[in-house]
């Protein structure tokens, strides 16, 4: 069932809201060992249901009764917002993120806040202060990250859609590992107001779901201009249309030669499978040569950690969040609070960022990073003169076992080779599973603001693939 069908069943009374949610809550209880939820409040859910019941026969919203989970860095003022951290373990936000207001406006049901890597830093959910989430397909495996709980909640059928945030693949990589769909719109399409910044020029709200159509429906609800976010699109509202006549004839799809990259065999195979499929559907395949793609994780590292170092500065223990017991001077207060409140990965990135921004070496790496970012963006623009869509694997590997790589934190960085550039260049992207089960996924990358193109392509591919 997709959003439209479920909504209509609620509206017509074919499915009873209350009993649906009673069952859903039971299901959530039985899957507790997956460690998906950080905050979950039955009373709040039933309060929302009551409100929906009152308006059942009048104006039902587009998402009437649809269960949604939120990554725990998105503000919802009825639940805590921990960002998967000890720093904000007990933090209760006092306002809703714009996306949450828009979801509620269209009668979605917010069922809870889900697990994530601490402050969205990590790609396995293992940096979460609340412990790792397990992959619903195989609970020995990581679900990916940082939007781990988001992906797992959809894959485990506990939510129809989930909002995550994506700064370098944090929506698409877990979507891939959990074998679902993950979409990241062009920068600014969805307001970031109320979403805790990790690396603010890269961060975007993404949508995880079981099908393309639900992603489009949700984007049309939560997208559009927001006066609270100066980077948000100037378009008043988003109204993406799915065209039933879309096909790959006359389309040019750019692909890349994977031989230059370190990449797992299974992922490579699945990529080839997808390319063949698309070719057989009539697309013209164009092999593209990327000069700067191999630097993407390095550039990402510099840009991301520099931004992290300033975005994390507000967590000083003075106005909210965790505060150390032990301090005599103000400096002690900062140092001890931040030493106790932040996890290892967060500290590592703050330290790197601080180094990159230090005046001592004239911010050489920071400036160089910005330059290569621009070159990369120009390279993509040039390629988009020739092709409509660029197709890459979503990740370079399949999910590994929980705990198997904690000794080597830097090894996990490289999985983002293909999804990081999309953020660096403000492009749009959707990750689509190639096969059922643990398998590789592919991502359709589109030009900035040409989201409709990739969504239609994804929809067409989805239908042809099933």
């Amino acid at each position: 069932m997709n959003i439209k069908e479920l909504r209509n069943s609620f509206v017509s009374g074919e499915i009873d809201l209350r009993s649906y949610y009673t069952k859903l809550i039971e299901k959530i209880e039985t899957k507790k060992d997956l460690n998906i939820f950080i905050s979950f409040n039955k009373e709040d859910i039933f309060r929302q249901i009551e409100k929906l019941e009152e308006k059942q026969n009048s104006n039902c919203g587009i998402l009437f009764g649809i269960p949604v989970t939120l990554k725990d860095n998105i503000s919802y003022d009825k639940l805590k917002m921990t960002c998967g951290s000890k720093m904000l373990e007990n933090f209760e936000p006092i306002f809703n993120a714009t996306v949450v207001d828009k979801l509620i406006e269209e009668d979605a049901v917010i069922i809870g806040k889900v697990n994530m890597d601490e402050f969205a830093m990590g790609s396995s959910s293992e940096t979460s202060y609340f412990g790792p989430t397990k992959n619903p397909i195989d609970n020995k495996l990581i679900p990916g990250g940082s939007s781990s709980g988001s992906a797992a909640s959809v894959a485990a059928d506990l939510a129809m859609i989930s909002l995550g945030s994506d700064s370098g693949g944090s929506v698409r990589q877990p979507a891939s590992y959990c074998n679902i769909y993950g979409y990241m719109p062009s920068y600014g399409t969805i307001s970031r107001a109320g979403v805790v910044s990790m690396a603010n020029t890269l961060d975007q709200i993404g949508i995880l779901s079981n099908c393309v159509e639900d992603i489009v429906t949700t984007t049309n609800v939560i997208g559009g201009n927001d006066s609270k976010d100066m980077n948000s699109t100037l378009k008043e509202s988003i109204n993406f249309q799915i065209e039933d006549n879309y096909n790959f004839k006359n389309k040019k799809i750019g692909i890349i030669n994977l031989d230059k990259f370190e990449i797992e065999e299974a992922v490579k195979k699945d990529y080839e499978l997808a390319v063949d499929k698309i070719k057989s559907l009539g697309a013209e395949i164009v092999e593209l040569d990327f000069k700067y793609l191999k630097y993407s994780t390095a550039v990402y590292s510099v840009v991301m950690s520099s931004e992290v170092s300033s975005n994390m500065s507000r967590f000083d223990g003075i106005r909210y969040g965790c505060l150390t017991d032990e301090y005599e001077t103000t400096d002690d207060l900062y140092i001890n609070t931040r030493s106790e409140g932040f996890g290892e990965e967060t500290k590592r990135r703050i330290a790197m960022g601080t180094l990159f921004l230090a005046a001592e070496n004239n911010q050489e790496l920071y400036k160089q990073g910005q330059k290569v970012r621009k070159l990369m963006s120009d390279e993509f623009d040039a390629h988009f003169e020739k092709v409509d869509i660029i197709l890459t694997p979503t990740t370079t590997n399949l999910p590994y076992e929980i705990g198997s790589r904690t000794e080597d934190p830097l090894s996990v960085y490289d999985s983002g080779t293909f999804n990081v550039p999309v953020n660096l260049c403000g492009l749009c992207c959707i990750s689509i599973p190639v096969r059922k089960g643990i398998s590789g996924s592919i991502q359709f990358i589109g030009k900035r603001y040409e989201d409709e193109e990739i969504l239609n392509a994804a929809y067409y591919y989805e239908r042809s693939n099933n």
Partner: protein, 475 residues
């Protein structure tokens, strides 16, 4: 030794917009602590800044008034440091692309007019305020956090405290004129840091720059400069370059005190503020602001001289204060005697303003009543002395002077027959003074007029008394 003092000023000015720089919170001085705050100015996770267009407009107004170039596109930057005042761990400011650049402010020196260069004017947000109480606790008030500021940085081109004082006065009056700040130093809406060092022009040996921070009155700026100039000269004589250091002015000891020495400058780890996109400032927008700028003091002064034919000295003082200049023009329209209006405003009225320790705009005396008073004097309905007495009362209580002088019977007596009678009587009773006058003592004439005034209870026309006495006492 041939030396030169180099003084540069850095001035922070709070803009008097209704709301803060990046949120809708009230920008208001004196509210109860932490009442004008919201998630944005408190730096709550997820809160994003949204630029206040009015603040941008105000900053451009300042730039235009000080002859700066206005940038057509700018970005904002983050300046990072940890301080409890600072809610986000960084201050949003402009580092390498200031909104306004390369301006100047004119000051009068004994060698004529000198242009003091302005390096830049940039926009930024203010921080909160720490209050250290007697128990040793620090209390934090974030009402000021996020209030829009402009920072004005001058070239080190002032060479003494007088120039610095005039620079500041000019700057303050201009800002007040264009109405973008209330420039109250005591409330912190205008704050001044002084950078100073001296250089031996023969040997090029110079002392290291001292920064005197957070000066909260013009007097303190003046004293601190003089103190530092002397201190630096002593160092210069000893060939001691001193330290690059930050000091503060201590009123109690009448001296500056070291706050910190910075051998290596603090690293603010500047980075781009990505939450605020690059902003384009259209030429039309700048042009529109330019067209709406009020007349500035220097322009006013020139116009006053030309239009009202008053002295440069008078025009200068009248044009320095927005309210005074307006008052002058309104009253002049009624009285049609600019020199008379100027004389009365600059002497009697300003003296009373100073005595009352108020700003000119706070006076109670309405312009229409002041104009009526001056017209009474001009038309000889009352004499000067009566005028001064009435003014004293008018300044306090603001009433209709026409009714007042009628009620109190202060109308000047101009009737020759009445006056002549008084003159005859006075002359009859003061033979001695008549003799004195005839013997060449001119002062005696004044005495006789005074006696006549006294006899008329102050209401006689002194001019006429004078003439009549002279006629009767031909030497």
């Amino acid at each position: 030794m041939n030396y030169k003092t180099l003084i540069g000023l850095e001035i922070h000015v709070e803009l008097s917009t209704n709301s803060k720089m990046f949120c809708g919170c009230k920008n208001e001085f004196g509210s109860a602590p932490n009442t004008n705050v919201c998630p944005i100015c408190l730096g709550h996770p997820g809160a994003l800044p949204v630029m206040n267009k009015k603040a941008l407009e105000y900053a451009i107004m300042a730039g235009l008034s000080f002859n700066c170039n206005i940038r057509n596109s700018f970005k904002m930057d983050r300046k990072k440091y940890f301080y409890p005042d600072l809610t986000k761990g960084y201050q949003i400011t402009q580092q390498d692309m200031p909104l306004c650049e390369n301006g100047y402010i004119e000051v009068h020196t004994k060698d004529g007019i000198k242009k003091i260069g302005l390096i830049r004017i940039h926009i930024e947000e203010d921080t909160g305020k720490s209050i250290h109480n007697e128990e040793g606790n620090t209390l934090l008030d974030y009402n000021r956090a996020g209030v829009p500021l402009i920072e004005i940085v001058s070239e080190p081109e002032m060479s003494n405290a007088d120039e610095a004082k005039e620079f500041l006065e000019n700057l303050k009056e201009t800002l007040k004129f264009i109405g973008i700040s209330d420039v109250k130093m005591e409330q912190g809406s205008l704050r001044c840091d002084v950078n100073i060092n001296v250089i031996d022009e023969d040997s090029n040996f110079k002392t290291r720059i001292t920064e005197v921070k957070n000066l909260n009155s013009f007097k303190a700026v003046y004293k601190a400069i003089n103190y530092e100039e002397k201190r630096h000269l002593e160092m210069l004589e000893n060939k001691d370059e001193g330290f690059k250091e930050t000091r503060r002015w201590d009123d109690a000891s009448n001296s500056t005190v070291v706050m910190r020495r910075k051998e290596e400058g603090s690293d603010y780890r500047f980075s781009v503020e990505g939450d605020i996109p690059v902003t384009i400032v259209e030429d039309e927008f700048i042009e529109e602001i330019k067209n709406n700028l009020p007349e500035l003091p220097s322009q006013l002064m020139k116009r006053f001289i030309k239009e009202y034919n008053i002295s440069e000295y008078d025009a200068d003082i009248l044009s320095r204060n927005k309210y005074l200049s307006k008052y002058f023009e309104i009253v002049t329209k009624e009285v049609k005697d600019p020199q008379l209006v100027s004389n009365w405003l600059l002497s009697d009225v300003l003296r009373r303003v100073n005595e009352a320790e108020i700003e000119f705009e706070e006076i109670k005396m309405e312009s229409k009543n002041f104009a009526k008073l001056l017209n009474l004097i001009k038309n000889k309905d009352i004499n000067n002395n009566t005028g001064k007495k009435v003014l004293r009362k008018l300044f306090e209580d603001n009433f209709d002077p026409e009714e007042y002088v009628k009620e109190k019977g202060l109308i000047q007596v101009n009737d020759d027959s009445v006056l002549e009678k008084i003159v005859d009587e006075v002359l009859a009773n003061n033979q001695e003074s008549i003799n004195d006058y005839k013997n060449g003592k001119d002062r005696a004439l004044g005495f006789l007029v005074g006696q006549c005034m006294k006899a008329s209870k102050g209401k006689g026309n002194p001019q006429k008394f004078n003439e009549m006495i002279l006629k009767k006492l031909v030497r």
